[in-house]
């Protein structure tokens, strides 16, 4: 009764990766334990808490409700894929730090990925829209107040930089006009 293995090829954080997995293997487990990208966390295993959120082809997706074989050939972005090659934090990551939007940090990667997806849809959200936008993720530590502030700050920074929030951060060492060109290089360097 051994599981049949399927070859899955994904582009994870800009880098092609291949794994051989049983059909039932969750994307969250494949990312965490086959690809050893443990930044994506699992908080409930039934799609309610949002800790496992990653971007699949740019859309926020619960990796605990997705089989790895379902995303064959697609692009997956995890929290490890946001900082620039030189280490510069993504504006959403930076805002969580600046606003003390994390405590234990367990839910944080899911929040960060959800916020990247949310701000791509709504780059200039009102306070109520921010609350609504993060209401698919649970945090037990912060009471959300500082997370709301972080989303507002991130929206401002992203607008200033003209950056698609689903893209890797721009290296601080690069002049702004070179940023867009540098995207691919950054991803190459990081992989």
């Amino acid at each position: 009764m051994s599981d049949e293995l399927h070859e899955v090829t994904l582009v994870v954080n800009g880098r092609p990766m291949t794994a051989r997995v049983p059909a039932r293997r969750l994307l969250s487990d494949a990312l965490r334990h086959d690809l050893e990208l443990t930044g994506t966390h699992v908080g409930c295993e039934h799609g309610v808490c949002g800790a496992c959120t990653v971007l699949v082809d740019g859309r926020p997706t619960r990796s605990c409700l997705t089989f790895a074989v379902m995303v064959d050939g697609q692009e997956v972005t995890t929290v490890e894929g946001l900082a620039a090659a030189d280490g510069t934090l993504h504006p959403v990551q930076q805002a969580f730090h600046d606003c003390h939007g994390l405590q234990c940090g367990f839910c944080t990667p899911g929040f960060v990925m959800s916020v990247c997806g949310f701000l791509a849809d709504n780059p200039d959200p009102s306070d109520d829209e921010v609350t609504e936008g993060i209401s698919g993720n649970l945090c037990r530590c912060t009471g959300y107040q500082n997370i709301r502030a972080a989303v507002k700050q991130a929206a401002g920074t992203l607008a200033e930089q003209g950056l698609d929030p689903r893209q890797r951060a721009r290296s601080a060492s690069l002049a702004p006009e070179q940023g867009a060109v540098a995207q691919d290089d950054d991803q190459e360097a990081a992989s």
Binding site: M1, H33, G39, H46, V48, L138, R140, G143
Partner: protein, 789 residues
């Protein structure tokens, strides 16, 4: 001296890793370990007649299945009673794997080890357990009625019965001009951290070393438990709390069965083994708290001054009582809050039920006590037609009465004595923050528009920083880097930042040069744990004391080298220099090298410490009798008793006249935790605590049915608040330093959760005119209450 960083809004130093996805939580650590699944009881009370594993044996990937009979040595015994107490007459704890009987849904029966969790669950599904279902005892009233017993040798279901008194409350109540009788109730909730429990163990046969990573609040104590119960030399066992994804109390419980079974299996199989609890397991096998039923009799005068208070309560501690009586003792003492009650009687019975065991959850009995006291204050104000804050003010302990001795015994076995605080000042701040006196007009104006709004408040005092002790180790490396270690662990409280602020300030170095390690028994063996809002008080002060030792030693060495008195030296940015002559300096790194006489030089700096490098007295040993090599120091902080923080919350709610939906419009907090180390972190703790208070007041309950089945064991049904449910919080601080410790600090971790249910109940009552006696309350509950009235 470098400017003190105490009180500065220093950005957290732990964030960077966590934001990049480079956190190191227990399940992140190993990808090749065997994984376990635990067969758990589907029944609240049953006799286990047979466990048949036959069908599971040919599951691909299965490694082993263990039941109670397979366990060896002390693992066959019941788990330890962690905190014995003379009143605890029936201290029943659980077996690591059930022996003959299961006593709650979720109790562990068998351990399945396989190559991964998928395979372990495949095998688990094929294990057949034959049960004889027994009668389940659910809820404290049923337990007290004792028509059925949870454990046959405890027919009354009472594990403990305890009474404490101040004066003669019954007589005082009898003689009082006014009397009230109240019945109040708080339902079950739980810590529910985002990271569930997890344990990973590996045995290294060559090193003869067992290394265990566990998501715990008490790694040193887990280590002691593993060594004791698995009968290993303590020095062969290392326990590390890596990044822990929230604790809130549930992870102070230890050793969980899995914390012993996983290391045992790793030893037995000579292969790394890992347990990662799933969310449903967490609901039914990790501990809960809160459920209590209180009966209150109070006597008071025309001004609302309490003359006598008598409280009798039932505490539901679930199927086992491994953590002793801590929660009900805290309730029965901390119930008194900021009030000078001179005649008090409190009696409780701690009862077995066929539900998940109860051990502390953030607040640890205080939210219940606060609810009881503050509902009583509101009832007195209502009875006399007085303002609710005036009644409270009239009963408050005055600052000039500090230290205030009640004459009760606290949870640590020490006197229940408040060290400091200015409760009337806190109340004045809260009233101003929320414009309490102007609210009557707001309420009337809303009413004229057909809206129902109300305001409520609640005050609490929180015993923080309980003993027995914590320690700190500070070592300055030849590079000048300062390594700080303390034994207790972190679950998001920002210890790496706050403790670094303390060490940097005490020593006179830049915070960038300080590294802090917590919760790793390889770095610090002696510790108690992170609970009871104690980490900043205990380890913060221990680190300060250890740093002072190191500073003294550095100045002593520098004073000899520079031939100046230590009083004439200061340390600025890691440089010891002569006051008034800033050019004459020695770096702490060089002093560290000088402190350690060397035979072998491995770099230029090291050469200065070798035997021919400088003239030395040939008749004196290189290390004097009263000295040790190295620039390091260890010290401990062990207080006589707890230090007491306090605070008050006020909340404005609106109730929908049609649907009874309850919406929080404003939430204000005045908080006094003494000297603040880092306001950003303290405010974050308050925010998170308030969110849990809101959850406990309006959403979260453990919905057991009469058979002991938990009906809402998922995040789908257990309504943990999202951002849409938690209001923004307005905070004002009062800083009354504690006289009990060198830094003047008090704990801040739990405070935010304590008064939530009490304040929100009061606000709902104010908005609707309906008396609220039971929390949490849902719109549906409120709707029924409004219909009944």
């Amino acid at each position: 001296m470098t400017t003190s960083m105490i009180g500065e809004r220093v950005q957290r130093r732990e964030d960077d890793r966590l934001l990049r996805g480079l956190g190191n939580y227990t399940d992140d650590i190993a990808h090749d370990a065997y994984e376990v699944a635990v067969v758990r009881s589907p029944h609240a009370h049953a006799r286990v007649k047979d466990v048949d594993v036959t069908d599971a044996l040919d599951v691909d990937g299965l490694v082993a299945i263990y039941t109670h009979e397979d366990l060896t040595g002390r693992l066959q015994e019941r788990g330890p009673l962690l905190i014995p107490h003379p009143s605890l007459t029936a201290p029943v704890t659980q077996h690591m794997l059930a022996k003959d009987v299961v006593s709650h849904v979720g109790q562990a029966i068998a351990l399945v080890v396989a190559t991964d969790r998928y395979a372990a669950e495949d095998a688990m599904e094929r294990i057949r357990v034959d049960y004889e279902v027994l009668h389940a005892v659910v809820g404290p009233r049923n337990a007290a009625a004792a028509e059925h017993a949870v454990h046959p040798d405890v027919p009354d279901n009472v594990a403990a019965h305890m009474v404490q008194t101040i004066g003669d409350a019954e007589q005082a109540i009898e003689a009082a001009p006014h009397r009230l009788h109240l019945e109040l109730e708080i339902e079950r909730s739980a810590s529910t951290p985002m990271e569930t429990r997890g344990v990973y163990a590996r045995w290294d046969e060559r090193d003869r070393n067992l290394r265990v990573y566990t998501s715990t609040q008490a790694p040193t104590s887990v280590r002691a438990a593993i060594a004791s119960i698995l009968e290993l030399p303590l020095q062969q066992v290392d326990v590390i709390a890596p990044d822990v994804g929230g604790g809130f109390g549930v992870k102070i419980m230890h050793p969980w069965p899995e914390e012993l079974l996983v290391p045992w299996a790793a030893l037995k199989l000579d292969h790394p083994v890992k347990f990662t609890e799933d969310r449903r397991e967490h609901f039914i096998s990790a501990n809960h708290e809160r459920e209590q039923v209180h009966t209150v009799d109070v006597g008071f005068d025309d001004d609302g001054r309490i003359l006598g208070l008598s409280v009798d309560f039932l505490h539901d501690h679930g199927a086992f009582i491994p953590y002793g009586l801590i929660v009900p003792i805290i309730t029965s003492t901390q119930l008194l809050g900021p009030y000078a009650i001179e005649a008090y009687r409190v009696e409780f019975r701690s009862l077995f039920t066929n539900t998940v065991p109860v051990t502390p959850y953030r607040g640890a009995g205080r939210p219940q006590g606060c609810f009881v006291m503050e509902r009583t204050m509101d009832a007195i104000a209502s009875e006399l037609g007085l303002d609710r804050t005036e009644v409270r003010l009239g009963n408050m302990i005055r600052p000039e009465q500090m230290p205030y001795e009640f004459g009760l015994m606290f949870q640590d076995g020490r006197d229940y004595t408040y060290d400091s605080g200015d409760f009337p000042a806190s109340l004045a701040k809260l009233k101003e923050l929320m414009d309490w006196d102007g609210f009557a007009q707001v309420r009337e104006e809303a009413r004229a528009e057909g809206r129902m709004v109300g305001i409520g408040m609640a005050a609490y005092v929180e015993g923080t920083g309980v003993g027995p002790y914590e320690g700190g180790h500070v070592l300055i490396e030849p590079s000048g880097k300062v390594q700080v270690a303390t034994g207790l662990s972190s679950q998001g409280q920002g210890h790496q930042t706050a403790f670094a602020q303390i060490a940097a300030s005490e020593l006179g170095v830049r915070i960038e040069d300080v590294e802090v390690v917590t919760g790793d028994t390889r770095r610090f063996q002696y510790a108690v744990g992170t609970f009871a809002s104690r980490a900043a008080v205990m380890s913060g002060n221990a680190i300060a004391l250890a740093t002072r030792k190191v500073r003294d030693k550095a100045l002593k060495i520098a004073s000899e080298a520079l031939e100046v008195s230590p009083q004439d030296l200061e340390i600025v940015d890691g440089q010891v220099r002569v006051v008034g002559s800033p050019d004459v300096t020695l770096s702490l790194g060089v002093i560290s090298t000088m402190s350690n006489p060397l035979r072998y030089a491995f770099d230029e700096q090291a050469a200065i410490a070798t035997q021919f490098a400088q003239p030395a007295d040939p008749d004196r040993p290189p290390v004097a009798d009263d000295e040790e090599p190295g620039l390091e120091g260890t010290d401990y902080y062990s207080p006589v008793r707890s230090t007491f923080a306090n605070g008050m919350h006020a909340v404005v709610v609106e109730v929908d006249p049609e649907t009874s939906d309850i919406r929080i419009l404003r939430y204000g907090v005045v908080h006094d935790c003494g000297t603040l180390i880092n306001p950003i972190i303290v405010e974050g703790q308050v925010h998170g605590g308030v969110a849990q208070g809101v959850g406990g007041a309006l959403y979260e309950r453990m919905a057991y049915d009469e058979h002991g089945q938990l009906q809402n064991a998922s995040f789908m049904d257990f309504l943990m608040p999202y951002a849409t449910e938690v209001p923004s919080i307005e905070i004002d601080h009062l800083e009354t330093p504690s006289p009990l410790n060198p830094l003047g600090i008090k704990g801040a971790g739990e405070a935010g959760v304590i008064p939530g249910a009490a304040a929100i109940a009061a606000a709902i009552e104010d908005a609707t005119g309906i008396t609220i006696t039971r929390m949490p309350i849902s719109p549906s509950d409120l709707h029924h209450l409004r219909q009944e009235s």
